[in-house]
C-alpha cells in the first residue's frame, strides 16, 4: 500500500476512533506508525476534519417545529397504510394524483381569468406527491380535516353519498385553506371535490353548478353556504358528473 492509497482509506476513518479495530484500516494504520510524513498529514487532517464535522452539524439542524410535528403525526397516521391495501385502492389513488397533474396541464393559464378561474389554475398546479390522509372512511376524512382546521363540515353532494373516499389533502390558495377529497367511482374512475371558504372570492361562482369541460376533465363548480365547491373527474360526461350532485 502506498501513501496515496493509505490516505484514501484513512479519509473514511471516523474521528471518534470507532474504526480502530476494523481490519479494513489496519494496514493503513500500520503505515501511519512507519511513515512520519503520513502521520503528520493524518494529524493535520484530523484537526481540520474535527472542525468541519462540528460546522456541518451546526449547519444542518432541523427546523424547531419538526420534532413536534413528528410526534403529532402519530395521531393522524392510520395503522393500515395504503400500500398494504388492495391494489385497486393504490391504483385509484394514483389515478387521483394523475388527474390533478392533468388538470394542471390543460387548465387555462391565469392571464385574463376571473379570480375563481385563477384559483382553479393555482390549485391544479400544486405539486402533489401524495395525499395527506389515505382513508376509505369519510368520517375519518372529515375528522382529519376538522383537526387541521380545514373544511371537515363540507356539504357532501348527494350523488357522492355511499361512494368510498380515497383520502384527502390540504392545499392552500392565497393564504386560504383548500380541502381536496377524492372518491372512488368504480371502473377506476375518481371524482375530486375541492372545498374553500366563500370569502376567498369577491365574485364566487353561482349557487347553481356550472359545467366546464377542460381537455378530458369534466368540472362543476358552485357555491353553497359559506363554501365554494369544485368537482372534477377525468373521462366523464357532463351528464354523468351531474349525477354526483
Amino acid at each position: 500500500m502506498n501513501n496515496q492509497e493509505a490516505k484514501l482509506i484513512l479519509e473514511a476513518y471516523r474521528l471518534g476512533g470507532q474504526d480502530a479495530e476494523d481490519p479494513q484500516f489496519q494496514e493503513a494504520l500500520e503505515q501511519l506508525k512507519r511513515d512520519p510524513e503520513l502521520a503528520a498529514w493524518h494529524t493535520a487532517e484530523r484537526a481540520i476534519e474535527t472542525r468541519v464535522q462540528s460546522k456541518v452539524r451546526a449547519a444542518v439542524k432541523p427546523p424547531a417545529q419538526l420534532k413536534a410535528t413528528l410526534l403529532a403525526q402519530r395521531k393522524i397516521v392510520r395503522p393500515q397504510p395504503w400500500w398494504r391495501q388492495p391494489a385497486w385502492f393504490a391504483l385509484a389513488a394514483a389515478a387521483c394524483l394523475a388527474l390533478l397533474a392533468t388538470i394542471w396541464t390543460v387548465w387555462p393559464k391565469p392571464r385574463g381569468q376571473t379570480e375563481f378561474a385563477q384559483y382553479r389554475s393555482s390549485m391544479a398546479g400544486t405539486k402533489i406527491e401524495r395525499l395527506d390522509l389515505m382513508s376509505r372512511d369519510l368520517t375519518e376524512v372529515r375528522h382529519w380535516l376538522t383537526q387541521t382546521n380545514a373544511h371537515g363540515e363540507f356539504i357532501m353532494p348527494a350523488g357522492l353519498t355511499g361512494k368510498s373516499s380515497l383520502g384527502c389533502k390540504l392545499l392552500e390558495w392565497k393564504g386560504q385553506k383548500v380541502s381536496l377529497i377524492c372518491f372512488e367511482m368504480g371502473n377506476r374512475q375518481v371524482a375530486h371535490l375541492l372545498v374553500i371558504d366563500r370569502k376567498a372570492f369577491d365574485q364566487p361562482p353561482a349557487d347553481t353548478p356550472q359545467f366546464a369541460q377542460i381537455g378530458d376533465v369534466a368540472t362543476l363548480s358552485w357555491s353553497r353556504g359559506d363554501k365554494v365547491y369544485l368537482m372534477a373527474s377525468k373521462h366523464t360526461s357532463e351528464q354523468d358528473l351531474r349525477k354526483l350532485l
Partner: protein
C-alpha cells in the same frame, strides 16, 4: 404497530440524523422535512414488522432513502468510481479558516457539493456512520463509498476555501465552476 413510547424514543433518537440525511438528498428544508415525516409515518404503519429494536435506525434511513428514490424515480445506480481514479490532494484549508465560517456559508458549501458525494459525506459527518453502513444504506460497494467520501471532502473544501476568500466571490456548483474554468 410501534407503540407510543417506542415511537417517541425513535423520534427523539433519530430525527436529527434523518433530517440531515434527507437534507443532503433533497437539498432544501421543506423536502427534507417531508421526507423525514414520511419515514416516521411508515414506521408508525409498519413498525410491527420490526422485531429487533436495534434495526429501527437503519430501517428508518433505508426507508427514507427509498422514499426519496421513489420521488425522483431513480432506478439507475449512481456512477461507480474506482479508488484508483480518485485524487488524494485535498484543497488547502486551515482549522482557523473553518472556525471562522458561519452556518449559512457551510450550508451553501454543502449544497454546492454534488449530491452523490454530499449524501455519504453527511452520513459520515452527521451520523458518524461507517463506510460499511453507508455502503449498505446506499447499496453501493465499499470502494465507491471511500472514493465518494474523498471526493466529497475535496469538493466541500474547495467550496469552503472559496467562501473564505471573501463575500464578493460567489460560490458556484462544482460542474458550473469546472465549466467556467474550461471556458477561460
Amino acid at each position: 404497530m410501534v407503540n407510543e413510547v417506542d415511537y417517541e424514543q425513535a423520534v427523539s433518537a433519530f430525527y436529527e440524523g434523518l433530517y440531515g440525511f434527507a437534507y443532503s438528498l433533497a437539498g432544501n428544508e421543506d423536502d427534507a422535512c417531508e421526507l423525514t415525516q414520511e419515514a416516521f409515518a411508515r414506521l408508525l404503519a409498519k413498525g410491527s414488522q420490526l422485531h429487533d429494536p436495534s434495526k429501527v435506525k437503519s430501517w428508518l434511513f433505508t426507508t427514507l432513502y427509498r422514499v426519496f428514490l421513489g420521488w425522483k424515480n431513480r432506478e439507475a445506480r449512481l456512477p461507480h468510481f474506482e479508488i484508483s481514479t480518485v485524487e488524494h490532494e485535498l484543497p488547502a484549508v486551515t482549522p482557523e479558516l473553518v472556525d471562522a465560517l458561519e452556518s449559512d456559508a457551510v450550508r451553501a458549501a454543502l449544497l454546492a457539493v454534488e449530491e452523490r458525494y454530499r449524501v455519504p459525506l453527511i452520513l459520515y459527518y452527521l451520523e458518524e456512520q461507517s463506510y460499511q453502513e453507508i455502503a449498505n444504506l446506499l447499496d453501493i460497494p465499499i470502494g465507491t463509498v471511500m472514493s465518494r467520501l474523498s471526493r466529497g471532502k475535496a469538493q466541500l473544501r474547495e467550496q469552503l476555501a472559496a467562501t473564505s476568500i471573501g463575500a464578493e466571490r460567489k460560490i458556484l456548483p462544482i460542474e458550473q465552476a469546472n465549466q467556467r474554468k474550461q471556458s477561460l
